[in-house]
């Protein structure tokens, strides 16, 4: 058997967490956590270097029996779609550690342990090739995330943590029933690849589609089950927000790709108009809500809903450009929104206010900070040359091909995005320096810059030369589309 590289990548953070438990000194804890996450990222690069971009087949696969009596295996593997998100998760791992360096000043060890355990579970979700294993990773994530929000969060943290926990739990429990039903219909196996080969009757597919929809829609989140998101984001510590926005939300969309589309192709085709409508609603509604926010974090949170609407819109266009755009947009949203939450966190550490009205003229006090903020703001509104432009353009062209009204709504959402993002930037960065008088603001230091720079690199790299990224996902997306259309009855 080949070297279990994926297992190593997935479980290294957890092993690091175990080591952290033995340490006593806060600085040791921070450096160890950073070391582990950077090493994990390095391994991830090694893995990508050996990744074959010409095939849609699962790579780096590992299979071991786990619970043979129920056909459960420990199976890991990645294709182009999951590779992108494994990379994103590993990248944000050490950025989160850097973002919490001084922001977390009590129970540092416990925080880093939770963060690293979280990292393992997130990587596991993207690598799992067994539904049971996937579910274990998916659901176990509730524990560290609940603790991260509830212990290190803001004033309303307890409420937010509960809301997050119960929403997600209720959604995923129905998913669990769906998984078990699928298990019996698919010949008593939890093997994801074997299950995608099944041709289930349409009635079963419909039920499963809605059971899955509830779980994934809560995670994405789609309107109307999005209400946990603003609370969780606003109350979570910066690293928690980054993880939530950059990785956790992707899991819902990943679930649609991996399960709904490939296992339930007929139902996915049949209900795609409904999904397009829900996505368009999320884009416009999220944008309108973001327009009305005074709290920086809330604004970014609602913009997340809008942007994730683009992702689901792209996925359910069920054509090549839409899907590629949707997946690329998942990555872009991870980078850009992760960065925006990081920026909100950085400024909050200095001023302890998130109200936009308290800010103004930050340009003079912190020029480097505002320059990068400008970059990420422009990226978030999809200015040409930035990453989101490529993604949104693909999504829009896919959307117009699939459904004119959905495309039109998406354009409206993009306009709204420009309005609230530019408005935010104007109030915070430009104008008279009202904020300098009240707070002593220092510009970003080297540690903070180390967290920001890689994200900025990806903004421009994907924006100017997206080919390598599209190459990675290309074969898998095309394979996915053939699956959908061959079982779903042609285009």
């Amino acid at each position: 058997m080949a070297f279990p590289l994926l297992s190593l990548i997935v479980f290294m953070p957890a092993a690091g967490a175990a080591v952290l438990m033995l340490l006593r000194n806060d600085d040791q804890v921070r450096w160890t956590a950073l070391g582990v996450t950077v090493l994990d990222f390095a391994l991830c690069i090694v893995m990508l270097a050996g990744f074959d971009t010409t095939t849609h087949e699962m790579q780096f696969t590992e299979t071991r029996p786990w619970v043979p009596a129920l056909g459960i295996t420990y199976a890991l593997g990645i294709d182009g779609i999951s590779a992108l998100f494994v990379f994103l998760t590993a990248l944000l791992g050490w950025i989160c550690v850097l973002a919490s360096w001084v922001a977390i000043d009590r129970k540092v060890k416990e925080f880093m342990v939770s963060l690293l355990v979280m990292q393992t579970l997130m990587l596991g979700v993207f690598c799992a090739l067994d539904l049971f294993l996937f579910y274990v990773f998916w659901e176990a994530m509730l524990i560290p995330m609940y603790v991260i929000i509830g212990v290190w969060g803001g004033d309303g943290r307890v409420y937010a943590a509960f809301k997050f926990f119960l929403y997600t739990l209720a959604g995923s429990l129905l998913f669990l029933i769906g998984v078990i039903v699928l298990y019996f219909h698919g010949g008593e196996t939890f093997d994801i690849l074997a299950l995608t080969e099944q041709d289930l009757p349409f009635g079963v597919q419909s039920w499963l589609f809605f059971a899955f929809l509830i779980a994934f829609a809560v995670k994405v989140p789609m309107v109307p089950v999005h209400t946990w998101l603003p609370d969780a984001h606003v109350q979570a510590p910066t690293a928690g927000s980054i993880v939530l926005a950059a990785v956790l939300l992707k899991m819902g969309a990943y679930g649609f790709l991996r399960f709904s589309l490939s296992m339930l192709p007929e139902a996915s085709m049949h209900y795609s108009t409904l999904m397009l409508a829900l996505s368009a609603l999320a884009i416009v509604y999220g944008g309108l809500l973001a327009l009305a926010q005074d709290d920086l974090k809330k604004l970014v949170a609602y913009s997340s809903i809008s942007h994730m609407g683009f992702v689901t819109l792209g996925i359910f266009t069920l054509n090549l450009r839409g899907l590629e755009g949707g997946i690329l947009q998942m990555f872009n949203h991870g980078v850009t929104t992760g960065a925006l939450f990081l920026f909100v966190g950085l400024i909050y550490e200095r001023t302890h206010t998130r109200s936009i009205a308290d800010y103004g003229g930050l340009m003079k006090a912190a020029p480097v900070y505002t320059a990068f903020l400008a970059l990420f703001t422009l990226s978030s509104m999809a200015l040409p040359g930035t990453n989101s432009f490529v993604g949104e353009l693909l999504v829009l062209s896919g959307a117009f091909a699939a459904n004119l009204a959905a495309g039109a709504a998406a354009v409206l959402g993009a306009l709204l995005g420009a309005a609230y993002l530019l408005g935010m930037y104007r109030k915070v960065a430009l104008g008279p320096a009202s904020v300098g008088a009240r707070f002593k603001i220092r510009d970003v230091n080297a540690r903070e810059l180390a967290a920001i720079l890689p994200l900025a690199v990806f903004v421009l790299w994907v924006g100017l030369y997206p080919k390598p990224f599209l190459n990675i996902i290309g074969p898998s997306v095309r394979h996915l589309l053939t699956q959908v259309h061959s079982y779903g009855g042609g285009q």
């Binding site: 009596a69 049971f132 176990a140 603790v147 307890v158 926990f165 429990l173 029933i177 298990y183």
Partner: protein, 481 residues
């Protein structure tokens, strides 16, 4: 009965004989032991249980019917006896310090526990309604006494009295059902009953008999509508006894329910509809009422009602997987529930009762390790992976869906989402509240309590991560196999 048959019977029931004889010897020896020699009682009791466990292990190889069809030593009984041994030994370990603090450390306490154990063992092995009754009463009478062991406390006395009266009524109902069965079929043997019925399985007399027997049995597992005794008894009894009762007698009740219910006669009478209704009502009541409890023991009482409801879903599913799922559920429940009770019991030290949930505010600050263990048990009770509690629920759901009861499975998971709320509320109190400035925690972390915590934690996380062996054990122990 020939001498050889008698010898075979004695051999098959050797573990029971060891426990009963050991209890009698301990009763006499206990009078000679001076005050403050509690550790002798604990080690002697644990030794007796271990010898019995060894006996069960040696007998596990084959099926041994005994006492002319009244009793059987098979793998099914062996599995349940394993759960009883585990629960009893852990209760002994927890009792050492607790009985000292509560001043109830007399030898009778340990002897009664051993008698309760022997009663449960007989229940697990019984194949005749009468031997079931004997085991049931032996267990019940012992637990009535144990419930009232805090003699100076009103709550404990009240609980004991309530338990005796309600328990007596339920036993009467059970016996009435047995007499009806005898009247209709002319036998009380489980195997004989099915063969004796030639007519319509939906005979109203038979249905009535089944309903009475069901009522008597679900009382023991604390299912709705016979759950009223549970909160009061759990709250009033010494906490160690509550821990014991929430696991072992409940498992014994399920052992009998499984044996009776999967009998072809009962299976033909559509009794599963009754059980399904009971299961849904039990889980709903347990989960919703637990939401508003402030007392930890009361909350755990309702939580145990909810768990009984979930396990009953496995009975509804029936079949090999259904039975195995109930068995695995009870084993896992023993680990996680005794774990959380161990944490509550050790809090009882000095003036600190540890019975109110708010008492635990900020525990994570001063005792991070203990808090982490409680978090583990609570998330396991809530059924979140990768803990064992998740796998227990998962397997019950698999059994349900396998039989086509998808709607029941959906109800079960939605109710367990409700139940998750009150478990994570305790986690919230432990982790997210500031501790009282003057109220320093002083848990009684004796070596035996540490051992209990280690065993239960290992079970809770170990079965969660590596369920394969335990799953196979449960599947192989389904009777017939």
């Amino acid at each position: 009965m020939t001498a050889a048959a008698l010898f075979q019977s004695i051999l098959a029931s050797l573990p029971e004989i060891v426990v009963v004889a050991g209890a009698c010897i301990l009763l006499i020896l206990g009078q000679l032991v001076r005050k403050g020699q509690g550790h002798f009682l604990v080690s002697a009791s644990v030794a007796i249980v271990l010898i019995a466990a060894l006996g069960t292990l040696m007998l596990a190889g084959e099926v041994r019917p005994a006492y002319t069809g009244m009793f059987i030593a098979d793998r099914f009984a062996g599995f349940f006896k394993g759960v009883f041994y585990l629960a009893t030994i852990l209760t002994f370990l927890l009792s050492r310090k607790y009985t000292e603090i509560e001043k109830i450390g007399s030898s009778e306490y340990y002897v009664m526990l051993l008698f309760a154990l022997s009663g449960m063992m007989i229940m697990a092995s019984a194949t005749d309604l009468l031997s079931i009754y004997v085991g049931l009463e032996l267990m019940a009478l012992s637990t009535y006494v144990l419930t009232g062991f805090l003699r100076r406390e009103r709550r404990s006395n009240e609980a004991s009295l309530k338990y005796v009266i309600l328990g007596g009524v339920s036993t009467g109902i059970f016996l009435y059902g047995v007499s009806l069965v005898y009247g209709i079929t002319g036998t009380t043997q489980l195997d004989g009953m099915a063969a004796a019925v030639t007519g319509d399985p939906l005979d109203p007399g038979l249905l009535l008999a089944v309903v009475f027997i069901v009522a008597g049995l679900v009382f023991k597992v604390g299912a709705v509508p016979f759950h009223m005794w549970v909160p009061d008894v759990y709250e009033g009894a010494p906490t160690t006894i509550t821990a014991f009762m929430s696991v072992a007698p409940k498992a014994a009740g399920f052992a009998v329910i499984l044996r009776v219910f999967l009998n072809p006669l009962v299976a033909a009478s559509d009794a599963w509809i009754i059980v399904a209704v009971i299961a849904v009502a039990t889980m709903a009541l347990g989960s919703f009422v637990a939401l508003v409890q402030d007392n930890f023991k009361r909350l755990l009482a309702y939580s145990s009602i909810a768990h009984a409801g979930f396990a009953l879903f496995g009975v509804v599913a029936g079949g090999a997987d259904g039975i195995a799922s109930v068995m695995l559920y009870l084993l896992i429940y023993a680990f996680m529930n005794l774990g959380i009770f161990a944490a509550v019991i050790m809090m009882r030290n000095g003036d600190f009762s540890g019975e109110v949930i708010e008492d635990y505010a900020g525990l994570a600050k001063s005792h991070p390790g203990l808090a982490l263990l409680m978090l583990l048990y609570l998330f396991s009770l809530a059924g979140i992976p990768p803990t064992a509690g998740f796998f227990a629920k998962f397997y019950v759901l698999v059994a349900l869906v396998e039989r086509g009861f998808v709607m029941l499975a959906v109800i079960a998971v939605l109710l367990s989402a409700v139940a998750a709320y009150f478990y994570i509320r305790i986690v919230m109190v432990i982790y997210m509240r500031e501790p009282e400035p003057e109220g320093a925690f002083d848990p009684a972390l004796t070596p035996s309590v540490r051992a209990t915590l280690a065993i239960t934690a290992a079970g809770t996380i170990g079965i969660g991560l590596f369920p394969a062996w335990f799953l196979r054990l449960a599947q192989h122990s389904v009777f017939g196999g």
